[in-house]
């Protein structure tokens, strides 16, 4: 049976002190462990740990020979008969992990969670060493108990945060794909509105809808070229989940047209908002591919709306304040934006430049 593979933080930082393909990875793991420790005492939020975690590959894919061996020996191709256990120890039972000079001890004891196997201890067998790693390990376990090696609170917290990141990523991908599917349907029925609902991101499956998206498309003529305009309305069904609805709508919009400035928004009916934009031709291609093959290509990833592609003139003073506060200002051309530092290399909005010049005359 395939099990989920994880390595304890203690083993990563204290036992696997060298042998890393990338020394930087080990450094980042030590930073991660101290961030997890701070999170346990509520000094930092889980999202801070997530930020560190995103800088690393999955725990079982870390670049160390013993971890690679561990990942492979409990992976889909593993043969349960070929496992060697550390005799003399039970409750929990330990599996030996051997590769080159590295030695490790792993356990799939239920204390570590269902369908889990944890690599909990490791060491190097140095040539000429009289003290075999497994003898030393057995001694320690008998003396201080297995608790010192089994996964601790820090490991379970990290696992929980890992699961949350996965749940959020999956949720974003679902919204992204669902909107492309909706676009595919809408295209074949011009003017007709197609609707989808979505639930909140969660580690457990949920059917409770928190928001609703309705989409219709229409062919329009833009300077002699036929383009497709989308009308998207977003309705909040659960006000407690307004942040998730907000992000879902941003992901949906970005899938259709990633340039934030291309979107025109207005209020709509109760608890709903309306958005329209010229659809990015690439989105139409992706929607068609999804409709025909049932799959969205790898290159199409959920993303946010792209900002700051053009520099704008703001209409009033207080730009620095707005930059600091993250509040939006109104540009001369009528576009609302949050000012940022790096506008010097950007092309200036033609409309803003024109109005700025005209204001100079009057």
């Amino acid at each position: 049976m395939v099990r989920d593979r994880r390595v304890t933080l203690r083993c990563l930082t204290d036992d696997l002190v060298d042998g890393w393909d990338d020394v930087d990875q080990h450094r980042r793991i030590r930073v991660l462990r101290s961030t997890v420790a701070r999170c346990l005492i509520e000094e930092v939020r889980e999202s801070k740990v997530a930020e560190e975690l995103r800088k690393l590959p999955a725990i079982s894919l870390l670049q160390h020979p013993l971890i690679r061996h561990f990942d492979g020996s409990f992976g889909p191709d593993y043969d349960s008969g070929s496992k060697e256990s550390i005799s003399g120890l039970s409750a929990p039972h330990w599996w030996k992990q051997k590769t080159t000079r590295w030695r490790g001890a792993a356990t799939d004891h239920s204390a570590g969670g269902p369908d889990m196997v944890w690599l909990c201890a490791a060491g190097i067998r140095r040539a000429g060493d009289t003290d075999d790693f497994y003898q030393a390990f057995m001694r320690d376990v008998k003396r201080i108990g297995p608790q010192a090696f089994l996964p601790a609170d820090e490991d379970y917290l990290l696992q929980k945060i890992d699961e949350k990141i996965l749940a959020l990523d999956i949720w974003k991908a679902k919204v992204h794909c669902a909107i492309l599917a909706l676009l595919g349907e809408a295209r074949s029925s011009a003017g007709e509105t197609h609707v989808m609902q979505f639930s909140a991101p969660s580690r457990k499956p949920s059917n409770r809808a928190i928001g609703e998206l309705a989409l219709s498309v229409e062919a329009i003529d833009v300077d002699g070229e036929e383009m497709c305009e989308v009308f998207l309305s977003a309705k909040i069904l659960d006000r407690d989940q307004i942040q998730s609805v907000d992000v879902a709508v941003q992901i949906a919009r970005a899938a259709l047209q990633s340039d934030a400035e291309s979107w025109h928004s207005t209020t709509f009916t109760d608890d709903a908002y309306a958005f329209s934009a010229i659809i990015d031709p690439d989105a139409l291609v992706l929607a068609e591919e999804l409709r025909v093959t049932g799959r969205v290509p790898e290159r199409s990833q959920p993303a946010g709306l792209r900002l700051g592609l053009r520099a704008h003139y703001a209409r009033k003073h207080g730009l620095v304040h707005a930059q600091v506060e993250g509040s939006s200002v109104l540009s001369l051309c009528g576009y609302w934006f949050v000012p940022t530092q790096d506008h010097t290399n950007l092309e200036t909005c033609a409309e803003c430049a024109r109005r700025h010049e005209q204001l100079g005359i009057g």
């Binding site: 999202s47 941003q250 025109h264």
Partner: protein, 118 residues
């Protein structure tokens, strides 16, 4: 023609006043706060859409949803009152300002979502 367009038409080419009035008209059309129209002026869908900075399709959806009162003239043409269009514009401008901030702080939103996830 409305009063503004009539005045502009009567000015010589390249006049300073003409340019200033053109700028005001642009402002009117893009709804950036410069208006000389009266509250009870009648507004066509084309003009309303322009004022609101949206396409006519988007505007018709708004009218069909009953968000701006309108009346019918002739057989089918719809007209709105400027005051109602302005009021709707103000609400939409508020939303656009908030929307811009939301977009800029999406990472923060995702962090909050993660923290409050079960």
């Amino acid at each position: 023609m409305d009063a503004l367009s009539q005045l502009r038409a009567s000015l010589p080419d390249g006049s300073e006043l003409g340019k200033a009035l053109e700028a005001m008209d642009e402002g009117l059309r893009h709804g950036v706060g410069v208006t000389v129209a009266r509250d009870d002026d009648q507004v066509t869908p084309a003009r309303a859409a322009s004022l609101l900075g949206i396409s006519r399709t988007h505007l018709y959806k708004i009218l069909d949803a009953g968000l701006i009162p309108f009346h019918v003239v002739g057989e089918r043409d719809r007209r709105m009152f400027m005051v109602d269009v302005r009021e709707y514009l103000a609400r939409s401008m508020s939303f656009r300002a908030a929307d811009a901030e939301s977009i800029a702080k999406r990472q923060q939103l995702e962090d909050d979502i993660l923290d409050s996830m079960e």
